[in-house]
Amino acid sequence: MVPDKFPTSMLLAARGLGLAFVLLAMTPCAYAGRDITDQCTFHWEGERIDLGDITAALNSNIVGRQQVTVGKRQMPLEVLCPKPVVLSLRLSEGSGRFGERGLLAFTVASAVADGQRTLLAENYVAGVRNFSAVPTMRLSSQSFVGIAPSNAAGAERYSLAIDIEATLPRVDTRARFNLEVAAQGAVLLTATTVP
């Protein structure tokens, strides 16, 4: 027998359930797999990057730019995990600063997953199928860069290059005496299995 009228409490429950499913479908976290970051090992040579001596002569032929590039380095990062994972990276807070008024820009490029060239997607997490992928992507602390292997199951071995570009205000390069400019921070890495 089908009741011609649902009790009020049942209607509220049905609406709440529907709302929950809509929200679940909208959040990519719902697809995320298990976090096995602590089981992965990585190789990274960027613990100390020395850009060497910088004089105002550097870039002095560039007219009109107030922020000048004073150094670029490409640092390889290799990650090895015991089972297929999807990797994501972001910067720790404050990692984009260089000295008092300079900036550091980090760009992920040349990602290879288990020997296959791989694209990158902003806020990509394991299991998501529809995403827009690009070959290079800027790292920030606000969002994370996901490495989206062509194999939906993820990959065990990743290698990628992180391009680091340091810029300073032009006026700061006109040093009157030797002065060290330094920055410290971290790239935050997460490895997640595909559910």
Binding site: C40, E47, I49, I54, T55, A57, R90, T173, R176, L189
Partner: protein, 232 residues
């Protein structure tokens, strides 16, 4: 029983929704980095008189005025070229490398010849077993050009640039060995002007002690000064 169930359902659903909406607590492995660089001043070089000494050659006693209170030698004007590998604001500081050897009694004579400023030493000679000053000289900075544009000299005390009015086209060097006093290249109003090519001249006016105070031996004019380029 029914009442409890009716109240509990929506609450359970909302609690589940909240649980799923919360971001999962992923562990993030920090991969530390540090970036260092050394800022260094631009490289500037200075060339005074083509890196040649200002040589007055040999002067015999017969060429000197034996009666005067001082022996004036002809002033020399020598070129000064400063080159920097990037636009740089500079000032020049002068140091007398023969300090305390200038004959200060010649100041009056130099003032009469409209030569004011610090008296630089010309070294010492032996006169009756005593050290005596050979003479003194003054320096004057001529008109200055920065990257082919005429600019001006200011006196810089470490804080302010005070434009200097030239005296007969020369800015007398009045602050040798004066620590933080130097001569900056500025606009007419005293704003520093960065450049890569600075061209000016330096006037050297030497005066020797009176002949009666001179040693009978050969005397060397041994004046020496250093120009230090300061980055502003």
């Amino acid at each position: 029983m029914n009442i409890i169930r009716q109240q509990g359902w929506p609450g359970t659903v909302l609690a589940l929704a909240g649980l799923y909406l919360s971001p999962p607590a992923y562990s993030e492995e920090p991969i530390p980095f540090s970036v260092v660089a050394q800022l260094t001043p631009t490289n500037c070089t200075i060339d005074v008189n083509g890196r040649q000494p200002i040589d007055y050659g040999d002067i015999t006693r017969n060429q000197m005025d034996a009666t005067g209170a001082a022996i004036a030698l002809l002033p020399r004007t020598v070129p000064v070229a400063i080159r920097c590998d990037a636009p740089t604001a500079i000032s020049l500081a002068f140091v007398d490398e023969r300090p305390n050897t200038a004959n200060l009694q010649l100041a009056e004579h130099l003032r009469a010849a409209r030569q004011t400023g610090t008296l630089f030493g010309l070294g010492e000679m032996k006169v009756r077993n005593n050290a005596a000053p050979v003479g003194a000289f003054t320096l004057g900075l001529g008109p200055v050009q920065v990257d082919a544009t005429p600019r001006f000299w200011s006196q810089y005390n470490g804080a302010d640039h005070q434009p200097i009015a030239p005296v007969h086209d020369w800015v007398p060097v009045t602050s040798a060995n004066a620590g933080n006093i130097s001569y900056s290249v500025t606009t007419r109003r005293g704003y520093i002007v960065p450049g890569t090519a600075f061209n000016t001249t330096l006037s050297v006016v030497p005066v020797l002690s009176p002949l009666r105070d001179m040693s009978n031996d050969t005397i060397h004019l041994d004046g020496e000064f250093t120009i230090e380029i300061k980055h502003l």
